[in-house]
Amino acid sequence: MPTLTYLQAISAALRDELRADERVIVMGEDIGVFGGAFKVTDGFVDEFGGERVMDTPLAESAIIGTAIGAAVVGMRPVCEMQFADFISCGFDQLVNVAGKMHYRQGLAVPLVVRLPSGGGFSGGPFHSQNPESWFMHAPGIKVVAPSTAEDAKGLLHAAIHDPNPVCYMEHKHLYRRVKGEVREGVFETPFEARVARPGSDMVVIAYGAMVGVALEATSDLDGASVEVLDLRSLVPLDEEAILDSVARCSKVVIVDEANQCCAAGAHVAALIAEKGFEHLDGPVVRVATPDVPIPFSPPLEQAVLPNVERVREACLELLEY
């Protein structure tokens, strides 16, 4: 198996799908000739042409809206938001048109929106957000967030094959930092959680970039056996895997890079309170970004984002409970 970066795995999935299925098109700002702001589609236009690797006008509502139109007449569009933050401009089309279409009219919208998300590189308030929970709150939209190169590929294949709108959260900080062996060809990673490291004294629940942070933070906690559960999919949420981990480990830390209010982790905490209460041996602890815009200057940004040290402290405190 070849070793790919997280970014190369995303590119490989897109290339495989474009080769395998003529219904697949990719569309977004600067993704054609320029190859995308992060070079995910570098060279694609030469192989697949400008119609299937479409440089669009700078208009996010139109990118989502036209992709919906193409999807309902049989295409499989994959939209790139240049930064996940810009989905706010396409929010209405995604939430009101795409998300409600099947419930209202029985009409499937097979659409993928790729959302380069997350901070840690001085992107500032408009290039660092993690908007996944906006869409968890909107019925009819699936939300997935890979943390490894293998899952980056498999989840993207599965998202493109899914008959529903899927928000694919790709974390920019992982693009070139995360590497791993990745299967070749088309394969699907199920929209289910994965035990990233088994354990029995405590579980840290995370997704996306926070999985790596959780693994590093808990690699040596005075000999404690710490499980790390990688959610991989937020909608659907793998309740069974979460409750299974809670039952085995009894102590829970939930990590979000997103702002803490109503984040994915808040929903997971509520689930555990409702359905896993009798297994708990301590309060459910959350580590998340406080409810502030993501600041630009490195000391300010590092002051708000969850990091290895902050997760480690939270875990040590809970272990002592």
Partner: protein
């Protein structure tokens, strides 16, 4: 490219060149059916059988009847709430429409959405959302797929004068112009967006904007069903020839309030009376009566159809509350839109299209 702001659609001669007498009777019947169904639905609303509010297109019947009649079976439609005739032309039965208004299980959305928020996907139609004009972008995307697949078909969508103020209007017009897409934009100018008149909506007649996006804009008498047909037929022909989009401004008047609860006191009475003289159904009736068509007989048959539909819809069950959570996600293979009815005689020889979605 120049915008044709003036009356670009010739009078009866050009229209009738493409319309048989049978077609012209069909257009009148579609408008009569739309008006009759909406009047019946208003009665049902007053009887408490239609939940929520009720929105109609009284006085605007020609816009959707004429435009939809010009579309082929494989063309795709994103229909607005005052355009019931488009659904009738595509083949939605009156009983299902009344059941839709009453939130019954047999309505097009099975009670999941109300009013004219529906589209029968098997007939090539997508129902609107309340955020206007979102569907302009959806129609543009359909046209993008048709062009990409080199298919001889187009998309059409309707939107109101108020919609021209929102960003999605600009984004759709620009995108369609840049990519020269086979899409027909029908701007249904009915003088008011809820209570807001045109002079508070735009400083320049929006049809003039078409030129700025690089395509043709035409203004049509939206109360003349044959003129509407002709403008849309020509726009479709341009679309299929690779000449890109057309913006058609259909000038008409919303003769009722925004919805059943709106007494429309913000509209001067004289204005309503003036427009009543231009009623699209009276106009088509006079034309056909002069040709010896039995218009009264036609009205009678439409009334009988509506009576039967009412009976059927009232007998239909309400949806099962236990099904309220079903269908949020598609769990089967995604099935694209299907083809609709295309009753215009002009399609009989060539089929008008090259089939359904891939």
């Amino acid at each position: 490219m120049a915008t044709h702001i003036a009356e670009a659609v010739p009078g009866d001669a050009a229209a009738t060149e493409h319309l048989t007498l049978e077609d012209r009777i069909y257009l009148l019947r579609a408008m009569l059916l739309m008006r009759g169904l909406e009047e019946r639905a208003m009665t049902l609303y007053r009887q408490g059988k239609v939940p929520g509010s009720f929105y109609d297109g009284h006085g605007q019947e020609a816009v959707s009847a004429g435009a939809a009649f010009a579309m082929g079976p494989a063309d795709r439609l994103c229909v607005l709430h005052r355009d019931l005739a488009a659904h009738l032309v595509r083949g939605v039965t009156p009983a299902r429409i009344l059941a839709q208004y009453m939130g019954r299980a047999t309505g097009i959305t099975g009670g999941r959405d109300g009013n004219v928020h529906f589209g029968d996907r098997r007939l090539g139609c997508v129902g609107m959302v309340s955020m206007l004009p979102d569907m302009m972008l959806v129609a543009t995307g359909m046209a993008m797929a048709f062009k990409l697949r080199r298919e001889q078909r187009c998309a059409i969508t309707w939107f109101g004068d108020g919609s021209t103020s929102r960003g999605d209007f600009h984004e759709a017009m620009n995108w369609a112009g840049v990519q020269k897409l086979p899409v027909v934009f029908v701007l249904e100018n009915n003088q008011y967006a809820y209570s807001t008149p045109l002079d508070k909506q735009f400083a320049v007649d929006p049809v003039e904007r078409a030129a700025a996006y690089g395509f043709l804009g035409v203004t049509v008498d939206g109360n003349d069903v044959e003129a509407m047909f002709e403008a849309c037929r020509a726009a479709r022909e341009r679309a299929l020839s690779g000449d890109g989009p057309t913006l058609i401004e259909a000038v008409t008047m919303r003769m009722h309030g925004h919805a059943a609860h709106d007494d429309m006191k913000y509209v001067p009475k004289e204005k309503v009376e003036e427009w009543r003289k231009r009623d699209p159904i009276d106009r088509q009736s006079s034309r056909l009566a002069a040709l010896g068509v039995d218009v009264d007989g036609l009205r009678g048959s439409v009334r009988a159809e509506i009576d039967a539909a009412t009976e059927e819809a009232l007998a239909a069950p309400m949806p099962d509350p236990g099904s309220a959570l079903d269908g949020v996600f598609c769990t089967d293979e995604a099935e694209p839109l299907g083809d609709g009815a295309a009753p215009w005689s002009g399609f009989r020889s060539d089929g008008g299209s090259d089939g359904g979605d891939a």
